[in-house]
Each structure stands twice: as C-alpha cells, then as structure tokens.
Amino acid sequence: MKTLSRLETRRDQLIGVALFLSVWEVAAQLFDKPLLLPPVSAILTALWDLIISGELITALGESIFLLIVGLLVAIVIGFVFGTIIARSKTAYWMLNPYFSALFVTPTIALVPLVLVWFGFGFTGRVLVVVLAAVVPILFSVASGLRDAPGDLIDVARSFGVKGEIPLLFTVRLRAALPVLMAGLRLAAGRAVVGMAVAETYLRLGGIGGLIKSYGAVFRTDYVFASILPLSLLGILLVSGIGRIERRLKWS
C-alpha cells in the first residue's frame, strides 16, 4: 500500500465525509421520515438555530466546565491514590480490587447511588465524571511510578538530588510522563461519557441536557445537532492529549 502524505490523508478524509453526508441526505429525502432519519440539511439548520439562539454556547460552556472540574478532581485523586499503591504493597493489595471493580462498572449504574447521596446538584455531577475518569489515571500513575528506572534514581542521587519529593519530580514523574499521558487520554474519553451521563440522568443541563430534552419531544434533527458538538468535544480533547503525549515520548 502506498503511504500517503499528511495533506493527502486530510483530502481523502474530507472526500469521505462529503460522500457520507451526501448519501445520508439523499437517503433521508427519499425515505422521507424526518422523525427517524432527518436529512443533513435539516440537522444543519437545527445546528444553526442552536448557535444563533445561544442555547448551544451556554450548554457547551456548562459541559466543558463540568468536564474540566471533573477531570481535575480525578487527576488529583488519581495521583494521590496512584502514588500510594505504587509505593506500598499493602495498599496495593487492599485497594486494587475496588479500583478494578470501579473500572469495569458502567458509570451509569452508579448514578442512582450518586443521586441518593448528593442529590441533583453540581457535586453529584462532578462525582459522576470523576467515577468515570479516575481509574485510568490512577492505574497509569501507579504503573508509571512502579516501573521507574532504578538506575536513573541512582544517577540523580549521585549527582546531588536529595529526598523523596525532589526525586519524585526530577526523575520518577518525568520518566512516567508518557504513561501518565496515555492514562489521561483514556480518562478524557471516559470523562466525556461520564459528563453526558451526569447531564442526562441527574439534573438536565449542558449538552447532555439538550440531547435529552429534544429527544423527549421527538425533535430528532435537534438531537443530531446536539450530538455533533459533543463528539467534536471528545475528539478534540483526546487528540489534543495524544499530540502532547507523542511530543513527550523519546523513542
């Protein structure tokens, strides 16, 4: 297979999108059941309407704020517990099963509990995002720190770096950074899902709220128009982190 230049790849992707949308448009017009499959033109009109009315911007702002707060809390918790289970075998064996269980439990299954404990407020929504995102961060911190190259610790110490905290920052964390970024990338994807779940199943709000409320009144074109920015947000976040990750790798 011929390798493509960056530009050629982009061009092919654009052609692909155009083809896909044209087929969709034609099929939807022929099918003529906008409730089931609204034509692309209707979706774009709906999207334009959402932008003009300011509804989308408000919702997006709310969602991004929730996402950022949730991710930051998840990063802090992930670092603390990740460091603890990396440094203590006892802590690892005691805590690891719970984190593993949390990792495989669908976040949506935890929503009723969050609702009972924290109500519909912002705390509850943040908690849902944290529950979705924390484990990949925690595990990547733990494995990144555990695999820290012992000889580099010796190097740093022999050249005068003193104490566990300076060693953590000059060597351990830096050496673990590519692994940490991979964990963060995974976490960001899950956080977007957690965000949508929180906004749909707790108090309605943000992009998730838009989707749910337009869905409830069968405005499928507006539902699609709201899903689009949500996907874009996720893609931008994940690929942005991926880009930083590639820069930090050394081989």
Binding site: L152, D154, R157, S158, F159, V171, R174, W250, S251
Partner: protein, 278 residues
C-alpha cells in the same frame, strides 16, 4: 609519568579511605529472610591521582563497594573518608559513571551533561560553558542537541563521562563503564579515559570483569574474593604511561600480572563450583 602518581600518593592525604566496611543485605522483604553478607571488613586506601581497578567473580560485592564509596548506600559498619573527611552523602568531590550509561532519555546530550551543575545550583551561563567544554573533550560537539537514543552505546558512555567530568570532581567512580560497549570502541575509550585522567589528575576507581582491561588501565588492581566480599589481593602494575593496548599486551609486566590474577580468579571460581556441587 608513573612517578608523579607515586609522589602524589606519598605526600597528600588519601583520596578515599575505607576502614572496616561491612554490609549485609536482606534477600527479600520478609523480615525473617536470610541475611547475606556482601562485604566483610574492607580496608582500603586509594591514593590521589591513582587509577585503581577492581576485579572479582560476579557476586563478590564489587558494585556494592563502589556504591558505598559513592555514598549511594551506607555501610552497616566502618567508615568512608574522602579527602580527609568522613562522608555519608554524595558530594561534589565524587562523580559516578554507570554501566548502563544512566542518561535521562528525555534530555538532550547538553541537558544531560548540565544536569549535575543545575542540581548544584551553578550560575546558568557558567553551566552551559562548562558542559560544552566537556562535550568537546569527549568529541561529541556535533551531538549536543541529540537525544541519547539517537547515539550508539559508545557515544552514550562518552556523554556519561562528560557529565562526570563536568562536575569537576577529583574522583571518578566507574561501574563497568565499558561493559556494554563493543570491543573496538572500548579500546579507543580506554585510551581516551587514560589520557583525560592523566591530564586532569583524576583519581579513578574502575570496576570491570575484563582482566585485560583491569591490568591495562590500572596503577593497582584490587582482586576481590567472593562471599563474603573481601580484599583478596592488591597488585601494582608497573607499566609506563601513556599506554596503548597494542604496546602493553606484549609487555612482560602485563603478562605477569594478568597471569597471576587469572590463576587467583580461577581458583576462586573453581572453589565456587565445587561448593555448589556439594
């Protein structure tokens, strides 16, 4: 040249003095696990400007001894005295060169060499100049901005050497530094190391498992014996400097010292095998 070493040593204090060094390790994390005696009563005095090589069967505690000299670990008993002062932490007088090069893969050559100076809080402009000077000294000026993974093993160890030299330490502690380097590059680097150390009057402690290397480089060779690690013998090598591998190999003194060391080492290895069979 040989004479300057001897004069140095007879006048000043020792570069490193070890007395009664004893070190045990616990094999696993289990508190009741078996204790292994790694070093048992090592007494040793290393002269200033001396090139001391350490050789011995694997597991004899060579690396442990070097790590104690570097204050990376502390002995259970005994004292380490560097240039007249008892030490318990790494300091600017000693610099280490590592078997696996120990370069930070995320730093460029220049940043790796600058690292010890930054840790010691030298002024920024000065650190750069010092680092570049030592990168030139090992012939890597064209690779200042390269990353370690872009360099061959020999080049990486040159960076390791430049880093140790840039600290200005009088004492270089080298743990099988050429062990992971191909044979031809190794010979070149041995010559370069001898030249640099002679020019700069460095004291070198150099661990190796290669007998030729041990004799070729050394003013004195320390032969260690296995479990518990002890000094079995210290032999002076009376070969003129500067030395090159080509000249030295055929020298009578080289053949004598090498032959003697090999017989001793061989006995130790055979004893070990017999014990294992019993």
């Amino acid at each position: 040249m040989e004479n300057t070493h001897i004069t140095n040593s007879s006048t000043g204090t020792s570069a490193i003095e070890l007395s009664g060094i004893r070190k045990t390790f616990t094999l696993s994390e289990d508190k009741n696990a078996q204790q292994v005696l790694a070093l048992d009563g090592i007494d040793l005095s290393i002269n200033q400007g001396e090139f001391l090589t350490i050789i011995g069967p694997s597991g004899c505690g060579k690396t442990t001894l070097l790590r104690i000299m570097a204050s990376l670990i502390l002995p259970d008993e005994g004292r380490v005295i560097v240039e007249g002062e008892a030490v318990s932490e790494p300091d600017i007088k000693r610099a280490m060169v590592f078997q696996t090069f120990g370069l930070f893969p995320w730093k460029t050559v220049l940043d790796n060499v600058v690292f010890p100076l930054i840790v010691r809080k030298y002024p920024a402009q000065q650190t750069r100049e010092i680092a570049i000077q030592h990168i030139k000294q090992v012939g890597l000026e064209k690779f200042q901005n390269a990353y370690p993974h872009q360099l061959s093993g020999g080049m990486q160890q040159r960076v390791g050497l430049a880093r140790a030299l840039s600290t200005g330490a009088d004492i270089l502690l080298m743990d099988e530094p050429f062990g992971a380097i191909d044979a031809q590059t190794r010979e070149l680097m041995q010559e370069e190391l001898m030249r640099i150390c002679q020019e700069e009057q460095k004291t070198v402690v150099f661990i190796t498992h290669d007998l030729n290397e041990a004799v070729m480089l050394a003013d004195r060779v320390l032969l260690m014996s296995r479990g518990p690690g002890q000094v079995r013998e210290i032999i002076s090598v009376n070969l003129p400097r500067p030395r090159t591998e080509y000249d030295v190999r055929a020298h009578q003194e080289f053949v004598r010292v090498r032959g003697h060391l090999w017989r001793e080492l061989r006995n130790d290895l055979i004893e070990q095998r017999t014990e294992e069979m019993v």
